[in-house]
Amino acid sequence: MRMTSLVRSAAITAAAALALTACGVSKTDDTASGSDSSASAQKLSGLRIMVPNSPGSGYDQTARAVSADLQSAGLSGSIEVFNQAGAGGTVGLARLVNEKGKGDLLMQMGLGVVGASYSNKSEAKLTDTTPIAKLIEESEAIVVSKDSPYKTLDDLINAWKANPGAVPVGGASNPGGPDHLTPMLLAKTVGLDAKKVNYVAYDGGGELMTAVLGKKLGFAATGVSEVVEQAKSGDVRVLAVTSDKAVEGLDAKPLKDQGVDMVFTNWRGLVAAPGITDADKKKLVDAVTALHGTDEWKKTLADKGWADAFVTGDEFSTFLTTESDRVAGVLKELGLA
C-alpha cells in the first residue's frame, strides 16, 4: 500500500538524515550526545512556536516539549510558545499563512488541523505552509467492551456491514478529527458507505471510555494511549490497531495483518509560514533534525509514550499532500468539506 511504503521510505530518509548529522559532527561513535549533534545545525534565535489550541492540549504539550528540548540541547536561544486557539486550529493556521515569509515562526499541528481546515472550510490550507517535520504519531485502536459479542475484527465488520445503524461507533473527536476519520476510512476500506456510519462524538476520552465500559456502543475508535490500561486490566478488548506494526504493550494486531488494507495514524508535526527563504527553511529543518538525534528528545518520547515518526522537509511535504487529499476525500463524501 502506498501509505506503508511512504512511511518506510520516510523512515529510511530520517535514518539517513540522522547518520548525516552524526557524520557532520566529528566522526565520533554512536554515543553522540545532544550537544554533539547540534554542531551541524545553526543555533536558532528568536524562535516562536504557535500552538493552535488551548494550553494543556496534546499540541501544547508537544510544542512545549520541543521548545524545552531545543533549548536544553543548545540548539536554540529562548523560544516563545504561545497559544492561538480557535476552530480546531484553523484560526492559528490562518494566522500562520498571513505571516508569509517570516522565518522565525513555527506552528505545532497534526492530523486534527488537516481535518479542521476542511470541515471548517478554511481558506488557509496546510498545503500553503512550509512543512518542516512530522515528529510523532499515535495509532488508533478499535475497541469493544469485554462483554461485547464481537470477539474478532471479522465478527465486528460482518455485523457492521449487515446493519451499520445498529452498530454505533464512538469517538472522542468532532467530525474531521482522528477518531471520526478512523471509522470512516475503515468503512470505505471494507466496502461500507461512509455515510451510513453511525458516528457518536464524545467530549474527551473519559466520556468515551465510560460509554464503552457501560456497553452503550457497538465499538469505539480512539488513540491507543486512552485504552492501554483498560486493555491490560481486561476491561476492554482491542480488536485491532490502525498502525503499520503492532503497538508495544498492547495485545492487538494491525488492521492490515487481519486482511483489512488500511494504515492510518494520528500524527503531530511542525510547519512554518509560507514563502520563507530556503536558508530559513534549512535552518529550521536542521534544528529539528538535530533535536531528533538528542538524548533529551529520546527521553521525552519515552516519558510521554510518544512513538517516533520523524520525517522532514520534502518527504513530509509529500506526506502532507497525500494525507490532505485522503482526509478531504472522506469529508467531501460525507458532505463535510
Binding site: G86, S119, D203, E229, Q230, L336
Partner: protein, 522 residues
C-alpha cells in the same frame, strides 16, 4: 474497615512538617491563581504543575491536592465580592453572594463559603475513600438517556427561578440557549450561528459570558447611573457569621454535599448542574424565600458546598477506573504520568499507598484552606469600601484579564464587551440574568445527550426512556409539575383562599434584575 486503616496510613505519611509546608504552599498558590476569573482549577493546575516536577512524588501529590482544592475555592471569593465568577461552578454563588456583600455581609458570605467548602469537601473526600468502588459501578451504568432525563429535570426545576415575569424569564432563557448553541455542532460538524466568524466556531466560553453579564453588565449599569445615585457607603456588618447565619447554613452545606458528590462521580455530571439544583432546592426549602434575590445565605452555602463535593466526586472515576471525566482530572493524569504512574483500573492495587496519601492530602489541604481563608474573610470584605468608580474600574480590568486568560484570544475581549452590553440591556429592560446562564449551560448538553441517545438507539424514540433510572426521573418530573396543583387544591379546601402560597407558586421567584435595578439604580 480496610479503607479507614489505609487512610490513616496515608494520613501519617502526609503529616510531616515538611509535607504540611508543601500543602500550605499548594493551597496558597491555588487560591491565588483560582481567584483570577477565567483561570479555573484545571488551568491553575496546568500552570502550576511544573512547580511540582522537581519534588519527590509524595510531596508533589500533596502540593497538588492543595492546588486542586485551593483553585476550586478561589473562584468563590471574586464571585461574592466582585460579582465576577472565576469559573462556571461558582456562577450560582455570585447571585446571592454578591447581594450579601453589597448589603455589608460579605464576611458572612465568604465564611459560609469557606466553611461549607470545608464541610462538603471533607465529607465528600471520606465518601471517595470509602465508597468509590461502589459509586463508580452505578455511575458507569448511566447513559445518555439518563443524563437527558436529569437535564430535563433541571430545566423544569429552573423554570421556578424565571422571575415574576415569565415572559422576561423565558426571553432570558432563550438568549442563553442561543449563546450556548453557537459553534460547531458536535454531531454533524456543521457550524451554527457563527456568522462565518472562525473564532465563534469553538463556541463561547461560559466564563466569558458569566463575567460579561454579571460584572461587565453591572459596571456599565453603575456607570450609567452613578451620578444619579448618591454615593453611599455600605456599613460592613460583622467580621464573621452570626449564630443565625450558622443555623441557616448547615443544612444547605449537607444538602450540597449530597447533591454534589454523585454528580461529580458520574462521568458527564460536572459541577455546574448540581450547583443549579442546590440553589433551586435551597430556594424552595428556605424558610425565608423572600430573601432570595436580596442576599440569602442559603444561596451561597448550598452551591459552594456542592461544587467542592463534586470536585471530590470527580476523583472517583479517576482513581477507580483511570478515566478523567473533567478537565482538572485530565491534568491530574498528566501529573501522575510524569512520575511514571499510569492511572488505570489497577491504580488502587498498584499504587495503593500513594493513592491514600493523595486522599489524606486532600483532607489536609481542605483543612488548611479553611485556616487560611476564614481569617481573611473580614479583610476581603472591606474591598467593597473602595469608592465605586475605582472599584468598578478595578472590576472591569479584572474581568477583561479573566476573559483574555481563558483562551489568550483578543477576540474574547470584544465578545466580553458585546455580551456586557447585552447584560446592560437586560438590566435596563428587567430581564433576569440567572435563566440566561442556566440556558447557556444546560441547553447544549441536553441537546448532545438527546442526540446521542437517539443515535445509539438508531433513531428509535424508545431510546430516550429505555433505562430504569430515566423512567424514575421522568416520574419525578411529572410529580414536580403536577404536585403544586394538587397541593394548592388540597390546601384550598382546608383553608379559605389567601392567594398562591405553595413553595413553587410563581410569586416566590423574585425578579433578580429588577430587584437589582431598585437597589442600585434608583
Amino acid at each position: 474497615m480496610d479503607g479507614l486503616n489505609a487512610l490513616l496510613d496515608g494520613m501519617s505519611a502526609a503529616l510531616t512538617p515538611m509535607n504540611l509546608l508543601y500543602a500550605f504552599f499548594g493551597v496558597l498558590l491555588g487560591t491565588a491563581i483560582g481567584v483570577l476569573p477565567g483561570i479555573g482549577p484545571a488551568m491553575a493546575i496546568a500552570l502550576l504543575l511544573p512547580l511540582t516536577y522537581t519534588l519527590p512524588v509524595e510531596q508533589a501529590i500533596i502540593m497538588f491536592a492543595g492546588l486542586y482544592y485551593g483553585g476550586m475555592y478561589g473562584g468563590s471569593t471574586t464571585s461574592i465580592l466582585l460579582n465576577t465568577p472565576g469559573e462556571s461552578a461558582s456562577v450560582m454563588t455570585a447571585i446571592e453572594g454578591n447581594k450579601m456583600a453589597k448589603a455589608g455581609r460579605g464576611a458572612a458570605a465568604l465564611s459560609t463559603a469557606a466553611i461549607g467548602s470545608f464541610v462538603a469537601g471533607t465529607i465528600a473526600t471520606f465518601c471517595l475513600a470509602l465508597l468509590a468502588p461502589q459509586v463508580v459501578k452505578v455511575a458507569i451504568q448511566l447513559g445518555d438517556p439518563d443524563y437527558l432525563a436529569v437535564m430535563l429535570f433541571a430545566f423544569v426545576a429552573v423554570t421556578t427561578v424565571l422571575g415574576s415575569s415569565k415572559i422576561r424569564g423565558f426571553a432570558s432563557l432563550g438568549l442563553g440557549v442561543w449563546i450556548g448553541l453557537i459553534g460547531i455542532d458536535p454531531t454533524s460538524g456543521q457550524q451554527r450561528l457563527t456568522f462565518g466568524i472562525d473564532q465563534l466556531s469553538d463556541g463561547i466560553d461560559v466564563v466569558v459570558v458569566a463575567v460579561a453579564v454579571f460584572a461587565m453588565g453591572e459596571a456599565l449599569w453603575i456607570a450609567a447611573h452613578l451620578r444619579r445615585a448618591p454615593a453611599r457607603i455600605t456599613p460592613i456588618k460583622g467580621r464573621w457569621m452570626t449564630r443565625e447565619d450558622l443555623s441557616r447554613s448547615w443544612k444547605p452545606w449537607l444538602r450540597g454535599t449530597v447533591i454534589g458528590f454523585p454528580f461529580g462521580a458520574i462521568p458527564a455530571g460536572g459541577a455546574e448542574i448540581p450547583t443549579f439544583l442546590s440553589y433551586i432546592s435551597e430556594r424552595k426549602l428556605s424558610k425565608k424565600p423572600e430573601e432570595f434575590g436580596h442576599g440569602a445565605i442559603e444561596g451561597v452555602a448550598g452551591p459552594e458546598a456542592t461544587n467542592n463535593a463534586s470536585a471530590a466526586g470527580s476523583l472517583v472515576p479517576l482513581l477507580t477506573l483511570g478515566i478523567p471525566t473533567t478537565a482538572t482530572a485530565a491534568v491530574m493524569i498528566l501529573a501522575f504520568q510524569t512520575y511514571g504512574i499510569q492511572p488505570g483500573p489497577r491504580l488502587f492495587q498498584d499504587q495503593g499507598p500513594l493513592v491514600w496519601t493523595l486522599i489524606a492530602s486532600l483532607l489536609i489541604g481542605n483543612a488548611m484552606l479553611l485556616l487560611l481563608n476564614l481569617p481573611m474573610a473580614g479583610l476581603w470584605a472591606k474591598l467593597l469600601l473602595i469608592p465605586r468608580p475605582y472599584l468598578y474600574a478595578g472590576i472591569l480590568m479584572f474581568a477583561s484579564l479573566g476573559a483574555y486568560a481563558a483562551n489568550g484570544s483578543p477576540f474574547d475581549l470584544w465578545l466580553l464587551l458585546f455580551i456586557g452590553g447585552l447584560g446592560f440591556a437586560m438590566r435596563r429592560f428587567g430581564l433576569p440574568v440567572v435563566p440566561l446562564i442556566v440556558g447557556l449551560i444546560l441547553a447544549p448538553r441536553a441537546e448532545v445527550f438527546m442526540r446521542r441517545a437517539l443515535q445509539i438507539s438508531d433513531g428509535h424514540l424508545s431510546g430516550l426512556v429505555n433505562t430504569t433510572f430515566s423512567k424514575v426521573v421522568y416520574v419525578l418530573i411529572a410529580l414536580l409539575i403536577v404536585a403544586p396543583f394538587i397541593w394548592s387544591r388540597v390546601r384550598g379546601r382546608r383553608t379559605p383562599p389567601e392567594g398562591p402560597v405553595g413553595p413553587s407558586s410563581p410569586t416566590t421567584g423574585a425578579d433578580d434584575a429588577r430587584v437589582h435595578a431598585n437597589t442600585e439604580g434608583a
